[in-house]
């Protein structure tokens, strides 16, 4: 629980700041059966980041990193929009569904590709995923022919802009969060992922199929990025290969790091990632409502990362520990996935 105090504190501080600036910050209103309000907006706009950050959390837990998620977002958007725009029945529900299925299928292949490079060829994750990060946006541009493709399809629009009391985007990412939490808590998968992150070689010798585990997390990360890509492009009913998902890999990594997951691998916290994603989105919204240009948000994000990584660094940690010797250092291998997920 200790590690979650930092992101939680940051989130609360940001929310309090918002209430001071705009007293009506927490007010919700009902309109046509949908809930509206600033908090809902934060959750909705943060949904794609949260989704990608969930995939990233598991990848980072295996001591990896996936830089290609932004490019995958662009590809997923490009494929779906091109398919819908090129079909005979542009407004049809089945067109949208088939387009999304094709796009997610492709994301699966991209995840397999990343996993192949990391798990089989044993290339450093940062380098392996750099390949797709560089080439991916080019591929997305090729698919859209360099144009911004706009589509007019109600079914597709629902993914990013639809409501069932709450925005669908929120429901989708919370559902994925719940599924990941259940699967990693109720099965040994979470423990195995951590074991691979602590020492891939030792866990392989202990009988863990580390290659399969690594492969799985990269496929999962790519699928999450794909769904996030659908959300982002469906929200604006367009695919912009140049800008869709630009720098989102950085936001996702940031969310994971703020959430207390160590970049060194071996332990992770899904709750932390959720908090991290909320902190980032609230920060972005706060900067925006304060009347500062949205691009300047990058400066605030940079400051937050610097503070968080300094507090996470071994040097500062040992400084804290020396002052409070009663608190034992957390030992990664002793934690069960249940404890970690909390």
């Amino acid at each position: 629980m200790n590690r979650l105090w930092w992101p939680l504190g940051a989130l609360v501080a940001l929310l309090v700041l918002n209430v001071v600036v705009t007293p009506s910050f927490f007010s919700l209103r009902m309109q046509d059966g949908h809930l509206y309000g600033s908090v809902i907006d934060i959750l909705k706009n943060g949904a794609p980041t949260l989704l990608i950050a969930l995939g990233m959390t598991l990848v980072i837990a295996t001591r990896g990193i996936d830089l290609s998620v932004g490019a995958v977002v662009a590809i997923a958007a490009a494929v779906t929009c091109s398919y819908i725009a090129g079909s005979d029945d542009q407004g049809g529900a089945s067109t949208a569904l088939v387009g999304m299925a094709i796009s997610l299928g492709l994301c699966l292949v991209l995840g397999l590709w990343n996993g192949f490079l990391v798990a089989v060829l044993k290339i450093q994750p940062i380098v392996a995923t750099l390949v797709l990060m560089t080439a991916g946006r080019g591929i997305a541009m090729l698919i859209t022919d360099g144009q911004i493709i706009t589509v007019n399809n109600e079914t597709y629009r629902a993914v990013g802009a639809g409501f069932v009391l709450l925005p669908l985007a929120i429901l989708i990412s919370v559902a994925v969060l719940a599924i990941v939490a259940v699967v990693t808590r109720k099965t040994a998968l979470g423990l195995l992922i951590e074991a691979v992150g602590v020492n891939p070689e030792a866990s392989r010798l202990a009988g863990v199929q580390s290659r399969t585990i690594i492969w799985t997390v990269y496929v999962f990360a790519a699928l999450c990025a794909g769904v996030a890509g659908l959300m982002i492009s469906s929200n604006v009913s367009a695919a912009d290969a140049n800008n869709a998902g630009l720098w989102i890999e950085m936001d996702a990594i940031l969310a994971v790091v703020i959430g207390g997951t160590s970049l060194a691998g071996g332990r992770y916290s899904l709750t932390g990632t959720l908090l991290g994603a909320l902190v980032i989105q609230t920060l972005t919204t706060t900067v925006y409502t304060a009347g500062i240009a949205p691009e300047v948000t990058l400066v605030f994000k940079a400051v937050v990362v610097v503070i968080v990584i300094l507090f996470q660094s071994p040097k500062v940690q040992s400084l804290f520990r020396r002052r409070r010797p009663a608190v034992p250092a957390p030992v990664a291998v002793d934690l069960t996935p249940q404890e970690v997920a909390r």
Binding site: I253, V296, F300, L310
Partner: protein, 324 residues
């Protein structure tokens, strides 16, 4: 450790030789396919159009040789064009603008280096924060693009130096060549350069040998920061403008140039000249695509990705073979 053993066998030259061959091959392919391609000016234009990338790649080579990485270079380049453009617009004298820009880049590099060394944080995450910071600072200065109208500043980028035979170059090419020569001197003939290689080979060994590990580790980020801001100046000479969205993704091109140039990403082995040839390969691909006219420019990214992959796998094979 594997990187050290690589440096003892002749196969360490293999990636660099492959890079040279690749350059000759791509340039040759262009010459065969298009009239007027194999001319001195097209070759000179490679340097003119890619001088900023060459300077970035040289700085990045220092960092990667120690086994680190610098993701902030593209953003620092953009920030430098922004400071230069805003400074010139505010009426600062040109030499002052240049000094301020170079100082900013070096100080940013120094801060990142100190965080990496003093707090033992991964270079990747620190320079990621640096990337955010520099990019954001661009927009603090201005959201819009600022064009540089000062005549003397523009002249720095526009003036042509005739080499004879109708071939001319710009000041930027001279800057890139000077950077290359200085980098080669520093890496191969100074204590600092030797420590850079030793650090990439094995940090504990370098420490046990009594080398200045901390100084060198911080130093390479200062070098990279300096090169990034110099590349920003070069870029602002080239485009006569400052813009916060200049060079988005350029850090990847710089890393690609270094890797294609034969430097091992694990550190310890590689040559700065290889990185320059790597940058020229990327430039040649771009030139071929623009000569062709029917190919979309985004093929560049895909080809770069493919080349990156090919060289990474090549390095992997070399390291594996020498390790066993």
């Amino acid at each position: 450790m594997t990187a050290l053993s690589v440096s003892r066998v002749p196969s360490r030259h293999l990636p660099v030789v492959a890079t040279f061959a690749l350059f000759v091959l791509t340039f040759g392919a262009g010459s065969v396919s298009f009239d007027n391609f194999a001319s001195g000016q097209v070759f000179a234009n490679l340097f003119i159009d890619n001088a900023h990338l060459i300077v970035l790649a040289v700085g990045m080579t220092f960092v990667i040789l120690t086994g680190g990485i610098d993701l902030s270079v593209g953003s620092v380049l953009a920030l430098s064009t922004m400071i230069a453009a805003a400074g010139v617009k505010a009426g600062w004298p040109v030499p002052l603008v240049i000094v301020v820009v170079l100082l900013t880049g070096s100080v940013l590099g120094l801060l990142m280096g100190l965080m990496i060394h003093k707090f033992d944080v991964q270079p990747f995450i620190v320079t990621l924060a640096g990337m955010f910071l520099a990019r954001g600072l661009c927009f603090v200065i201005s959201i819009e693009s600022i064009s540089i109208k000062d005549k003397s500043y523009r002249a720095l980028g526009m003036d042509r130096i005739a080499l004879g035979g109708g071939v001319s170059i710009t000041n930027n090419v001279l800057i890139a060549v000077v950077v290359l020569v200085v980098a080669m001197y520093v890496l191969h003939l100074t204590r600092f350069g030797r420590t850079v290689y030793a650090l990439g080979g094995s940090e504990p060994s370098a420490r046990l040998m009594g080398l200045k590990v901390g100084f060198t580790k911080v130093g390479v980020y200062v070098v990279s920061g300096f090169c990034s801001s110099l590349a920003g100046l070069v870029f602002s000479f080239y485009t006569a403008s400052g813009y916060g969205l200049h060079a988005v993704g350029m850090e990847l091109e710089a890393i690609a140039a270094v890797v294609i140039g034969g430097t091992l990403l694990a550190g310890g082995a590689g040559y700065v000249l290889g990185s320059v040839v790597g940058a020229l390969v990327l430039g040649t691909i771009q030139t071929i695509i623009s000569f062709d006219g029917t190919l979309n420019s985004w093929w560049t990214k895909i080809v770069i990705g493919a080349l990156l992959l090919a060289f990474i796998v090549l390095h992997r094979l070399i390291v594996r073979r020498t390790a066993t």
